[in-house]
Structures are given as C-alpha cells and as structure tokens.
Symmetry: C2
Subunit: 479 residues, 2 copies
C-alpha cells in the first residue's frame, strides 16, 4: 500500500485552529447534536450528558475523553494478506466511487445494473492503485431492493480479494455484512481481532445522525469493524456559506459521532470523515473540485491530525457529465490536495462522475492514471552524490545529448513514470491511429482490462457457504 | 496582480540542497560552460575566469559574487499602469503560451497566422488572470520571416496594454523590440529606469549558450530589460535521467548565464529560468504534466529562493493533442505545483497544447479557468469568531438547510468561486442545452470573448510613430 512520506501542506495557523476549536465546542454544548435513536440518547444520558428528546448537549471535555479512546491507527485485513491495509499515520488507502445510481459508458448514460457492479469490482481488482473496490460502487437497480446488498457483498468478496465496505442501509444489512465477513474470514473472533470491513456512516447534516445509519453504526461498532463517521457538507445547503463555520460544524458532528462509537464499544476503530464541498448559489447544484473544497480538504487533514484521528476525505470528484477536460482538472483539483493532506482513507478515488450520480468507466481509468502519477509524485526524491550522475556530464559535455549515454542506457526502462492513459505521440502518429482523445482511449483501456480480468482464487467451501448464506437470506427477505 | 500569501510547499532537506550545491559547482568548474559568442568569453576572461575556446571554466565563488549583483525583486511597467507587475517575492506573473508554430481551433489543426497571433493577444487582453499575452504566442507563418517580429511586437503593444515579451531571434530583433518599447514608453531613459519588456533566453542544454540568444541577451542586458535565463531540460535528452542531476545542471547553466548578464551590465534584472520535464524513453517524445516535472518544479522554487533569485517555471503544460481530460489534468499537474512553489514568472500559463507545438483556443480557456480557481485556492482563509457564523447554526438548528438563512442571504452572491467554463448543471438540463463537453464550451467562450473584445486606448501619435518604425524597418529588411 502507499505510504506518503512527503511533507504535509498545512495552511492553518495555531490561532486559526484555536478559533475552530472554540467553534465546535460551542455548537455541541449550546446547540447540541440530534441522534434519532433512543438507544444512542440513553447512552449519552447514562454518561452524564444533558439530553432533550433526540438532542444531546455535549460537554466538549467529555467528547474529547471519548475520542481519546479510539485507536489512532489500526489494521484492516483483506482475504489476500498482500492486500491488508493500515489506516492512519502516513498510510493512504484508496477506494472506488460509492453510491451512484447511474453509469456512463462512452456516449451512453443509463441505470446501473448488477453487471455494472461486477464489472467495476473487476476493474478495481485489476489495478494495484486501488486498495478496495469500495462498497456501493454503483447502485444495481436491476437487483431486488431488499436483498441486493447480499449480491453486492458477495461480488466484492469473490471478484476481489481486497478490503471492502459494508452495507449501511439498515442494521439488518449491517448484520448481513458482518455475518458474510465472518464466513469469509473464518469466525467472529477473527474479524473482531483484526477488522475486515469498513463502513460509511453519513451525518444528516446539520447536526443530526439518523436512525438507519445509527442502527448500522451500532452493529459495526459492536463487531469492532471501523466506521467512517462523515458529516455530509455541501456549503450553502447543509452548512453555512463559510469554510471556517463549516469546519467547526464538521468537527462538532464528527466528534459527536465518534464519542457515540466509544460509548457503544470502547476502543472500537473509527475514521474522522469529511465530505465537504459547496453548492452553486445560482442553481443549487452541488459543485466538486472547487477551490473551496480543496481548501476544506487541506484544513481537514490538519484538524484530524490535531485530534490524533485517521481521516477520510478527497477523491476524484467532479461535476462534469463526461470524462472531459473539466473532469480531468476537477478530479485532480481534489486528488492533489488529497495527497498534500496525507488523507488516510480516500473514498471515490476512481470512477466518480456527474456529482456522484454516475459511475463512469472512462472516468475510472482517468482516475487510476491520476493515482499512479500522484503516487510517483509523492515519493521522496533520493538526492545523494551518485544521483548527480557527474559521469554522464563528463561523457556528454556541451550541446550534446544524453540519449545514448551509459547512465541513460542503464536506467531508461524505469527512470520515468510510464503512463497508462496519457499520450505523448506526435500529431501524425496520433492522427494515423485514429485521433482518439483521452475519453475514447480510457474506454478502450477499461474494456481491455475487463477482458484480461482473472478472478482471485477462493476456497470452494467458503464460496459455497457464502452462496448458502445469500440464498437463505434472500428467501427470508422475500426476494 | 496576484500575490501568493499561502505557504510554500518545500520538499528538499538542507542536506539535499547541499548535495545539489556541490553538483553545480563541480559542473561549472570542471566541465565548464560554453558561450558561443567571443564577446562573452572575453568578458569572463577579463574577470579572471579560465577559458578554452568557447568553454569557460567558472570559479563557483565568482559566479555567486556576480549573481549577488542581480536584483532580488524588480518592477516591470505596462503602458496601462494598472497592469504594471512586480517580479519576485510572493508576486506571481502569468503570461500566455510561447512559441507554437501551429494552432488548434475545434477539430482543425493548422499553421498559425498573424490573425491567430492577434486573436490570442485579444484573448490575453480580455482576461485579468493573465498579466501578459506573452511574446511568440504563436509563430505567424503567413508573415515574412525577417520582419514578422515587428508585426508581433506591434500587435502586443497595441492590442494589449499589458507587459509583453521581446523578440530573441537575433540581436537586431532585440534592438527592434527595445526601439519600439522606447517609442511606446517615451524614451530609452524611461525604460532603463523601469524596464518595460522581458525576454526569454534559452540555453542550448547541456551547458551551451548559443550565439543568437546571446546576441539578444546582450542587447536586453545593456538596455536594463530583464531576461529569463532558462536551461531547456528534457531529461533523457538534454540532461541525465535523474532529477537531482538535472537540478544541478539547471543551476550550473542558469547561474552561469546570470553571471554573464552581470558582466554585461551590473545590476541588470534577471529571472532564474526553469523548463524541466522528461522525454518518453520509448519514443523520445517530450512529456509534460509528468510527476517528474512537478517534482522538478517544487525543487526549483526552493532552490531559486535559496539563491535569492526570482524564478520562472510552470504553466499549463500538456502533451495532449486536444483539450480533453489529459489536457485538463496535465495542465493542472503543472499549474498546481506552480502555485505551491510560488513561481514568480509563469510562461505558458494559457493556451499550451501538444507539447508546445500548438496554441489552442479551447485550451486557452481551460487554462484561464484553472488560473481563476488557483488564485482563489491560494488566497489565505480568514478565520475569526465572525467567520464561525454561530448565528446561522442558531437559526437553522438540526437537519434543516442553510439556503434561506440570513447569513447565506447576505453573502450568496460572492461567497463561492464562480466558474467560467466548469458546468454543474444536472444531466437533463445539460443534455437539453446540447450535451456540450468542456472542449466545445471552451470554444464558444473563446469566440464570445473575441466578439466582445475592445482595444485599449492608445495615443494616436504614439501609434503613428510605431507604425512608421515598423514600415521603415520592414523596408530595410527587404520584406
């Protein structure tokens, strides 16, 4: 996995962090946070916090005491140990796009299907730049609503041997995810000892954690499986039109959610989540890859480190409909700060299109190229006497060229980044080969990758047990 | 103009800088630098440096003494004082693409003409994100070779009221640039007191400064007009396949060129230039927007500051043939580090396509959008009690939205970045409006901008004098 040993780009002064610190403290104590689940409110009340219906008024010091119980770093196991990951510190985990109901493939935009879900899983399995296909890599609209989570988990478990994200639609779905994870990893004990699935719990911002997400959170916390507690903040809609105000709100929501997790099970692993962008104030549409979101991301990284928590943010976000120039620059406008901030868990790292409504095959390839480039760019340069290659200068002298120099000949295969998608052919050759833009080439690469896909080996008894579980539960759910 | 008050992203340790420092010292003293102009070699010899034919073996301490005579920062005047710029410190100057013989407009790629040159000048004049149209914004192949520099300077002087770059094809062309600049600014004294044109002097890397560029450099140095002394480094061809070796070579070449400038005229303004990328080792094609070039750029900024020199680097570079996803991400892969490094003079900031062979109309608009976004992103956030907008939280509470909140209503017009090109329309609306990708929309914006262009006012006597100069010199040159 990728370990980011480059410096962090930090833009908040100690004074600024202090202002933000006062901000979240005032929000949680004076306005409070709603938890739409009586069991959650009871846990807070039992721990001495003032409650009023669903609203919990939190003592900031109490929140910090709870937050301090969460591990600063932890491991997550994959069924192929080579794909295990570490969450926190300088480590970065990359996971595919999450949530879109639609897909785009070439000129066609359509409802996503279970076949698409499987194909995106196969793409994610094929590229080492992704540590996970994600969870809801697209919403398979052709599968029955009540049982499709079983098909999705099964696909992630069998078509990939990487970590995968759990279902959070309900507590029951979370229990299914955990049960299937127990089957894959052998026992409840095995996954409680080292977690094996990670799940996204979104806040219904501002300041409300809803029942279904909380039901799922409780299941995962109890099973010691990490959750990404994520304020969902499109400034102007779910938070004020001010980055500092939004950062304070994000802290209030995330820290309150993390405090709850530690009341459910002390020491259970959590990730400080951030999903922070803004809406277009003229149309109300969400915007991605904006300057505001990049600033928010850089600040979030610094804040998460301040509180000693691994954090989730970033990805290849864009509002664009297609994998065009806008998609390219907006994705990088988020992904480059993702690396500058040293983001520990990166959702939506590949495939995100159209503000998250579409999983794009071409966009997936664009993003993989960006991840490959950035991993190279964020690998520290080794500078020593030998790297100065003085001998090459002695050999070439003035006005010559280094193409045939001994130093070059020894290194030419590996000395530079070799692109997956980017093209540097001259015009004549590019034209002769069809004059294909990056979008067309990306579609071809996606298809070639799918054609070459080979499923990772899986013990047939385990597979059969998973199939039995899926078919039994599907019947119980009436699908 | 833009002042970058965000932190610099520095990746070189003091030890690494020391290794690079030893590297350039060894190159200039042991291998030496060639100057293909007897007058240059004589100046070095007279200053006590050992010479052998065209090769000058430089004492590093002597080089540093000369470099110390160059100003750390200086002003450059435009004919509209509102467009004056400051070179150095936290200031960033943005200038258009420089050098392409071809243009691309939509699906058409063709030889550039004087009409294209004028249209790109008009575009540069229209966007405040550009401080200069540049110099050879494209090579007008329909104008006679010997006199086209006159037409180009005249176009830059009359169609824009911003700073412009001088011609460097020969000493005579440089003299014409200076003469026309004297006319525009009133006198030689006026432009010697505050320079009014800046010129690009490229090194014929490795380690050779050629005659025609040196002839031009001498003219500009003598007239106190700044030159950008730029090693031209495509790793693998003009320098070793090692970033540290290339950085040491870049220092050797640039510092030697700067030392010469101070022998020509002590205290004349210079800019430490960098043009650093790599070739594809399979095809030999130059590659842009690569991880290697981004790393080189970040290092160059840190090195230039170490030597107290304003520096040139960056831009919206790409190898792509069209303004597609590759063009978008490669441009930003260079432009974002351009801002992280606090680059003082940014050539190729808009319009660069196809490895610098093409000036692209659509790409110009893509780049202007990137510059607009990055200027916003690199403006420090103000974080104080008021920015926390606590009242908005009191107003909205839990699970509501901020769209109609008083805090939002007071700020909605200016609170977020408003894009020029990026589109966040929903799919139905985008589709209804023609389903245009960023490339098509950029072409429309370019045309609309040209249609709305109004020439900046110019004193008719000055214009007549410039016209006289051009027509007299054209006759002398036999065109």
């Amino acid at each position: 996995m990728f370990v980011n040993r480059m410096p962090r780009y930090e833009i908040l002064s100690p004074d600024a962090i202090e202002v933000l610190d006062r901000g979240w403290r005032r929000i949680v104590s004076e306005i409070g946070v709603q938890f739409v689940k009586p069991e959650a409110v009871e846990l807070f009340a039992a721990a001495g916090q003032r409650t009023d219906g669903e609203t919990v008024f939190l003592d900031p010091e109490f929140v910090l005491e709870q937050v301090a119980k969460a591990p600063r770093e932890f491991d997550l196991q994959a069924r192929n140990p080579a794909n295990n990951v570490h969450i926190g510190g300088d480590h970065m985990v990359f996971s595919g796009v999450y949530g879109p109901p639609f897909v785009r493939e070439g000129a066609v935009r359509r409802d996503a299907t279970m076949t698409d879900f499987r194909r995106f899983s196969m793409l994610a399995q094929s590229f080492p730049e992704l540590d996970s296909a994600g969870g809801v890599i697209c919403e398979p609209n052709d599968a029955p609503l009540d049982s499709r989570h079983l098909d999705m988990i099964f696909a992630l478990q069998t078509l990939t041997d990487k970590i995968y994200m759990g279902n959070v639609v309900s507590g029951a779905n979370a229990r299914d995810t955990i049960a299937m994870t127990e089957i894959l990893f052998g026992s409840r004990e095995a996954i409680e000892a080292t977690p094996a699935t990670v799940s996204l719990i979104n806040c219904n911002s501002p300041l409300r954690w809803d029942d279904r997400m909380l039901d799922a959170q409780f299941e995962y916390n109890r099973a010691n499986q990490p959750v990404v507690l994520t304020p969902f903040l499109l400034m102007g809609a779910m938070s004020p039109v001010s980055i500092p105000a939004t950062l304070a709100q994000q802290l209030a929501e995330a820290l309150a959610g993390i405090a709850l997790s530690q009341l459910v099970r002390e020491g259970c692993p959590v990730i400080f989540g951030s999903f922070l962008s803004n809406i277009d104030m003229q149309s109300g549409s969400p915007c991605f890859g904006t300057p505001e979101s990049a600033i928010g991301l850089l600040c979030t990284g610094q804040i998460a480190r301040h509180f000693g928590l691994p954090f989730r943010s970033g990805g290849g976000l864009t509002s664009s409909q297609v994998a065009d120039a806008q998609a390219g620059y907006e994705a990088l406008m988020t992904l480059l700060p993702t690396f500058l901030a040293g983001t520990n868990f990166v959702m939506h790292a590949a495939g995100w299109l159209e503000g998250g409504l579409v999983s794009g095959y071409e966009k997936f390839i664009v993003d993989v190229e960006l991840l490959r480039m950035l991993r190279e760019e964020f690998t520290p340069l080794e500078i020593d006497e030998a790297s100065l290659a003085f001998g090459a200068h002695e050999e070439v002298g003035h006005g010559g060229h280094f193409l045939g120099a001994a130093h070059t000949m020894e290194r030419f295969r590996t000395c530079f980044y070799r692109p997956l998608l980017s093209n540097s052919q001259n015009f004549e050759r590019w034209n002769r080969e069809g004059g294909k833009d990056a979008n067309i080439r990306a579609g071809e690469i996606a298809q070639r990758t799918l054609d070459a896909y080979e499923p990772p080996p899986l013990d047939s008894a385990v597979r059969a047990e998973l199939e039995d579980y899926v078919s039994r539960r599907r019947k119980e759910l009436g699908d």
